[in-house]
Amino acid sequence: MHKTWAGALFLLVIAAVITFPLWYSRAEPRASAPIVLPVSGECIEPVEVMRRSHMKMLYEWRDSVVRTSAKDRRTYVNSKGVKFEKSLTRTCLGCHQSRHTFCDRCHEQVSVTVTCFQCHASDRAQGLDAGATPEAPHDHE
């Protein structure tokens, strides 16, 4: 008798834990409207293509620019034959300006972490955060 109740309680707790993400977020207001991103002019590829494959494109750009040595490797020719420089900082952010107002908008909502900005177009590189120069590290902590 006790075992049945204990078992049922156990199952209930497990079910609650497993479905936590589903019912917890219902307590938070959801974004009601879809995200509208700042655009100026035309993107290098159509929006639907970019939405689906921008990461794949960035990886291809990265590997061809860093790892190959052809003279023209830094040039991307889009589906309409227009040439662009393969650069996150200069081409993508040249139009979309800042990761905070562009990239992060979707990434934060769908909980995607990208590591690009650890090195590229970081806040300081964009002049956004002066920061104090820290002390030299001690020998041990």
Binding site: P137, D139, H140, E141
Partner: protein, 395 residues
């Protein structure tokens, strides 16, 4: 069979609990390291590998030493080791687990560790080392498990297990040889650039691994009623003796080549380790302690009446284990970075976080070892071979 590890006396659970606390400490330390970076260790631009890699190097040897039991028992049907082969394999599994954890702890961008698999690089010894270590782990787990299941049911192991066992013999030699190859092919590091490095690694492994096993068997005997008898212990002690003698011999060979040839780059590191270089003497006491412990241990083992005295045997095994740990871990790995390629001397001492992570990994090894020994002990009891060798108990 895991059920054998889920039942035990209070002392067993308290011990696992204590290990759990140390593991938690290791995890917290590691999180700190993840957050801040490897600056929390004592490593530097000149000494780019430290406690993590040195312990990894040492424990690969301990893992490989299981072959010293497997080879005579399975390959040559030398039945003396029958009762303790599974214990040797358990030590191997625990040691390899520690090795893999030490490597992970040392990686700067651990989130990218999959790159080792996504971009395999046959020219890199680190790629091969990672591969053969994982293979050795799987091999020993499968072999240990199958032989235990067979023992439990009083049947010989399945035929395919024999194939894996035969495979594990050259594989054990290979894991430590490949680890030696990490060091022995680097053109700028003259302490390591020697053909005798792999044999030295193996000799030191075959001294320290069985020494540890002897200590563990005695401990096991005290905690359970399992006594394999004097023969396997004596044989293990002989292996430790020969291994340590070979290790000391190889060390002597290094000294000869360095000082007879008089080539500065060959001499410098040995001078740094044993006499001090340019006033830097931090490691000198460690190296002489290691030498003294190693020699003392081997002397005790060479005198038959001393070797047969259990107290002295335990002391000798302990001192040989510590000697090999210092020699390989501290002397070899740290010494190889001194002097630096630009003739500078940067010394190293571990940071608190580094020690915390290492302690956590040692605790994981002890945890795995405890569980595996408990399972082996449980299987032995169930199979009716619990106590003194040759006597079956009534259950």
């Amino acid at each position: 069979m895991i059920d054998k590890a889920l039942r035990g006396p209070l002392a067993y659970w308290l011990w696992l609990g204590a290990l759990g606390v140390v593991i938690a400490l290791g995890v917290v330390s590691y999180l700190h390291q993840l957050e801040t970076g490897l600056t929390v260790t004592g490593m530097s631009r000149d000494v780019s590998w430290g406690l993590y890699i040195s312990q990894f190097t040492f424990f690969v040897g301990v893992a490989a030493s299981a072959v010293m039991l497997v080879l005579p028992y399975y390959l040559h049907n030398y039945s003396t080791f029958g009762k303790i082969v599974v214990l040797g394999e358990s030590v191997a599994v625990a040691a390899v687990t520690m090795c893999l954890l030490f490597v992970l702890a040392d990686i700067g961008q651990v989130g990218r560790a999959m790159n080792l698999i996504l971009h395999p690089t046959p020219s890199s010894m680190l790629f091969w080392d990672a591969s053969v270590l994982n293979g050795y782990l799987v091999l020993n787990v499968v072999i240990g498990w199958s032989t235990q299941v067979a023992e439990r049911h009083h049947i010989p192991p399945a035929k395919w297990v024999k194939v894996l066992i035969y495979l594990s013999v050259p594989w054990a030699f290979s894991i430590h040889t490949v680890t030696a190859f990490l060091y022995a092919g680097l053109p700028g590091r003259h302490l390591w650039l020697t053909a005798v490095l792999a044999p030295r690694f193996l000799a030191s492994a075959f001294a320290s691994g069985p020494a540890l096993l002897i200590l563990l068997v005695f401990l096991h005997r005290r905690l359970t009623k399992f006594d394999p008898g004097k023969k396997p212990i004596n044989l293990l002690a002989s292996i430790v003796t020969y291994g340590m003698l070979a290790n000391l011999f190889f060390l002597g060979l290094e000294f000869f080549t360095a000082f007879y040839s008089n080539i500065p780059s060959h001499k410098h590191t040995l001078e740094y380790l044993y006499i001090g270089l340019d006033g830097h003497t931090q490691l000198v006491p460690f190296m002489w302690t290691s030498l003294a412990l190693g020699v003392a241990g081997v002397v005790v083992l060479l005198v038959p009446s001393w070797r047969r005295n259990e107290g002295l045997l335990i002391a000798a095994c302990g001192s040989i284990f510590i000697s090999a740990f210092i020699d390989k871990g501290v002397g070899l790995v740290l010494g190889g970075f001194v002097p630096s390629p630009l003739n500078h001397i940067t010394e190293y001492h571990p940071g608190l976080t580094e020690i915390g992570v290492s302690a956590g990994i040692w605790a994981v090894g002890a945890f795995v070892l405890t569980v595996l020994f408990k399972i082996a002990s449980g299987v032995r009891e169930e199979a009716g071979e619990c106590c003194v060798a040759g006597e079956a108990a009534e259950h």
